[in-house]
Symmetry: C2
Subunit: 254 residues, 2 copies
């Protein structure tokens, strides 16, 4: 039996787990209130890194009785919790003003599941995606489960939050970005598109309903992942992984 | 706040969610005790399919007060729960006796997370993998979370449970299967291997520790996924997706 609480307040988020805390310390972009470490956990490389970095950066860490962690019993916190300022979103304008060459963006349209969002962020960082765009409504927002599932990756990639995905896509197209949307009824398989020599934004749709029609209409290319069995239900983070690493493969051949 | 209980007993598993129940009915390989449907949920295509198929196959379904579902409050059950016989594992010998041509197998070495295992099963079905091999110890077993996360995919692929992965890999090699293991320190990127014209088994390792040394030693090929940022922590199901769909791409070019 697990109890999972998503904790957030206006000024501080809670992040938990060694990777989440360590990666936030390494990135150094957020203010730490404090780090709590359960006094019954064994020291290991990651915990030592956390303590060293915290000390170096003047972040308070406290050893507390393991009983204090009982309020977070359902979280896989590994005995480490930090109170930290919320992530800073990146502004779309600022992002577009930077110079981009053969860059990639991932746009998420209505992702509902925190675990999926965390896994997507992680995959994007590993595959060198430049930024992730999420809508401010009708999409899961960044919470402590997303932070944990991203294994701290969230500190290594700009997240851009926008009010309207449609007008964002239009702006991208006007700024020389090519827009690719995934659509189960597309003619092209994703590996039949050439992703080199362009900046592209890849739109991934909600777990059940896929990419919205209004965005499909705006896309320059539609791609699908071929399904080898009569079972068309790939998890969205796994779909993204197949496509985004194909773009990595193509670029590596240049 | 979620409460998640993993329910299992010797004779019956609980599966939940429309996809899980529908796909198990379609596959028709397991015995249903009964299906419970909360009387407050709206009818939709999937629920109608469940009711029709259950009727056709003589499976009892009951409408019950939504209060009865409160014991499963933490599960994303969508108002549908079924009591069902456990999945039937496939025997390795039987599997190897079948004729395989350009087939793929996925071997999981120490996967700990139910969500990951569910996502891996789903990806394997979509990518046409012939079977999944899991060890009987030191790996998460098939439970109701795995079933749900697999979105019913578990009913569409043989799962082979073995006592020793090392001796299984040796047997595969003696039966003309090539064995590929993922290893962060491998020289070859996964897309530099030719996966066509052979039967291959791909070993994916545990979330933290990767593939065991004893299995790395047995592998014919070692492959890695290139990491484009200094952040080497791809989720195992996303890593699998990148590799397995590369094998699909290569075969499609033949």
């Amino acid at each position: 039996m697990y109890n999972i609480c998503i904790m957030q307040n206006e000024n501080n988020d809670i992040i938990y787990g060694k990777n989440s805390v360590l990666e936030a310390l390494i990135a150094g972009e957020r203010e730490f209130n404090k780090i709590l470490i359960a006094n019954n956990i064994h020291s290991d490389t990651k915990l030592n890194q956390i303590k060293e970095l915290a000390q170096k950066k003047g972040v308070v860490f406290q050893f507390v009785a393991k009983e204090k962690f009982s309020q977070w019993a359902g979280l896989n916190h590994q005995g480490v919790i930090a109170q930290i300022s919320p992530i800073k979103y990146t502004d779309l304008d600022e992002f577009l003003e930077q110079k981009h060459q053969n860059a990639s963006l991932v746009i998420l349209d209505g992702i509902e599941d925190s675990h999926n969002l965390g896994a997507i962020i992680r995959t994007c960082v590993c595959a060198g995606v430049s930024a992730i765009i999420i809508p401010s409504r009708r999409n899961v927002q960044i919470n402590s489960i997303v932070e944990k599932t991203s294994a701290g990756a969230i500190n290594h990639i700009p997240i851009i939050k926008v009010n309207s995905l449609v007008s964002t896509v239009q702006r991208l197209k006007n700024s020389d970005w090519w827009v690719i949307a995934t659509d189960a009824s597309a003619k092209d398989n994703y590996y039949n598109i050439n992703y080199c020599d362009m900046n592209f934004a890849l739109i991934m749709g909600a777990e059940h309903s896929g990419v919205s029609k209004s965005l499909i209409k705006e896309a320059d290319f539609l791609v699908k992942i071929p399904m080898l069995k009569d079972f068309n239900s790939l998890n969205v983070s796994n779909a993204l992984s197949a496509i985004i690493f194909e773009t990595v493969r193509q670029k590596s051949e240049r």
